[in-house]
């Protein structure tokens, strides 16, 4: 029998009424003869309520105990969900992470799944039960409770789908799928019917919030087909799958943006070996993720070094860099929080020159200055002044014809 893993987010299970609505969808799949595993998040709002409680007892709550607390959120949802199913005469069982045997490392609050022993899940499926698994959480090798961080339920679902070699993993959320651009700022954006893992990885890391990035990595590695769709409609969403010939016909699949970063520039840095290490090592130690790094060609042995960091880490970054800049005799330390990163993503770029130049000329035509550029095989990102973000996204969407499913921009 085909096996389907479904994941429902917090808004889909926000109250008993929605739980009933979602449960009916699950039962439909089960009645059609599928083996069903359902992964649930905490009810919308519950996570914030629990964090609030923690803050009342401790300013900086201990990480291990915070995970014990947070894990109750999904525990409540899976219990209520299973209860509802059973009250309708449908065989079901809830499983918490220690019961579903989802093992992680001990990085509380941002744990990584290292393995799943599927014996118990398979045993329950063999009894024809719908298996309801608490998302977002795991246990380490001695049974401590861990959580996977924001969006962790996506990862739970994909990891279980991979471990069970599921036929499909459906991620239900409050949007209808993956769009060519954020519909809130780009009215002509269009839902994609298919997209490759690599494109989704780029989109997720560039700011599209529809899927948690680790879950996409997992799906790619274990070749789990993902279907991202809405729990509020019956319409199909977006299939995230491995790349095929057709996809390469599409130059650009989507335009995305992010306003999460700040830009730091150190001017007139001596261009000698070991300088970069001196600058970036303290940041690595402080767990600050440096994104784009640009070093201009050096003139007379001096160069300007520019990089971006998350806005929340800017203050810390400047504190760390200040003494280093002085020590190496740099001229100035500048920073800018009013930036945005606008990116285009598409596997078709690989075999097509001219994509980058079309992007640059599109921005230039609107007098949008490009502050920094970075590229990968399938994406080009430009840092611009943040006030131009919406304009840039709309213009790029138009320039690459993303509103049309054209021969050169066809997805299925």
């Amino acid at each position: 029998m085909p096996l389907i893993v479904q994941k429902y987010g917090g808004t889909s299970v926000a109250n008993p009424e929605r739980i009933a609505n979602v449960a009916n969808r699950v039962v439909k799949g089960w009645r059609e003869g599928h083996r069903m595993v359902v992964v649930l998040s905490a009810m919308a709002g519950e996570t914030d309520r629990l964090i609030g409680l923690a803050r009342e007892v401790a300013e900086e709550p201990d990480a291990r105990e915070l995970d014990v607390l947070m894990a109750t959120g999904e525990q409540v949802t899976v219990a209520l969900f299973s209860m509802f199913l059973k009250s309708q005469g449908i065989p079901a069982t809830s499983l918490l992470s220690h019961q579903a045997r989802i093992y992680t490392n001990r990085a509380y609050g941002r744990a990584r799944i290292i393995g799943i022993d599927t014996a118990r899940i398979l045993e329950e499926l063999k009894k024809n039960r719908i298996v309801i698994v608490a998302g977002f959480q795991g246990v380490d090798e001695v049974g401590n409770i861990t959580t996977l961080g924001r969006g962790g339920s996506d990862t739970t679902a994909v990891a279980i789908a991979a471990a069970l070699k599921a036929d499909l993993c459906e991620i239900y959320t409050d949007v209808e799928g993956v769009y060519t651009a954020d519909p809130r700022i780009c009215p002509r954006s269009r839902k994609l019917s298919r997209i490759s893992y690599d494109e989704m990885l780029e989109l997720a890391s560039l700011g599209a919030k529809v899927l948690e990035i680790r879950s996409v990595g997992f799906a790619k590695r274990y070749n789990v087909p993902l279907h991202v769709r809405s729990s509020f409609t019956e319409r199909p969403g977006t299939l995230v799958t491995k790349e095929d010939k057709d996809m390469e016909d599409i130059l650009v699949s989507g335009v995305t943006y992010s306003k999460n970063d700040a830009r730091v520039t150190i001017t007139r840095v001596p261009d000698v070996p070991g300088i970069a290490a001196k600058i970036f090592n303290p940041m690595v130690e402080a767990n600050i993720v440096v994104d784009m790094i640009i070093q201009n060609t050096s003139i007379e042995g001096l160069t300007d070094l520019t990089f971006t960091v998350p806005k929340g880490d800017l203050k810390k970054t400047l504190e760390l860099i200040q003494p280093v800049a002085r020590e190496i005799g740099a001229d100035k330390l500048l920073s800018d929080e009013h930036i945005a990163k606008v990116s285009i993503v598409g596997v078709g770029m690989r075999n097509n020159a001219g994509v980058a130049s079309r992007m640059f000329s599109t921005l230039a035509a609107q007098n949008i200055n490009i502050l920094t550029i970075s590229t990968s095989e399938i994406k080009i990102s430009c840092v611009i002044e943040d006030k131009y973000t919406e304009l840039a996204v709309r213009e790029l969407h138009d320039a690459f014809g993303l509103e049309h499913v054209r021969p050169r921009n066809r997805l299925n």
Copy 2:
């Protein structure tokens, strides 16, 4: 190092402020050099909130899933409590039932503890940590979550104390200890400084709600000294311990009452072998606990049979008995919900005649009719009309001089 197990009820941990207050008490014991294990209930009100959620999704929530849901109550408390301790620089760790390895049978909602593997608790104690254990819950042999029923945290605490051979088990509650009678109806009642396990067992089963009865049975079986006291004062409470010579000097330790039962009478039952089985077997099968059973001396081969059952089971009982009464040719089936059971308890009764007659004459002096009597070695219970309950308790309290710590009524 001496080992103390402390249990705090829901009102003692009802909010972050009270958690801090209780935590300071725990830390005091720890600083004095004790190894500390703390068992916590859910915050007051939380259990009702969770039951409310369950009722919203299912009229009769599935027992297994209800336990998964209810167990989050204690999980929240232990996480917050440990967080608070750690934020104060005190080493602590929370343990849920699957981590503390508290094993029960699979009777969801009323599970019995069958064993505790103390390895993990001892490991944490060896690290000088305060161990915070979620009360009320356990796991069965395959890791399903179970709960022990109302008051189950008392049982958790005593079971852990027994398994660890603790020096003392302190049960913190919102009353100051065990009283000679309920202070709300008997102003002259007095807090007992000591009481025997057997007396406490009788009091608990007769309606005194200060301790869950199973926990007292556990404590007696494993000889765990219990100290019942209030978390809101520093005053000592009541020590529940094994019987010693001094205790036998006391005729009566306490007067208690219960209004939970209803009385059923079947008149003119043929007094032939097998009749009792015919009547009571259907009730046993329906899990109805029959308390007092009185059979009058038979006259001309006919007798009246009277027994009590919990009020909540009366309707069911009558449904079950009706056809049996008809079948055996009994005359009438009568019932009465307006009864109360008033009892006196004391190990000193064993060696003293005259206690029963003093009880009967005390009630008679107030014109209180005794409907049914039952006795054990250390208690006498009389069923009376419930409107006389408070009067009876006060008069008996006076008649046995319970307000005084007299030579013949001394406790320490």
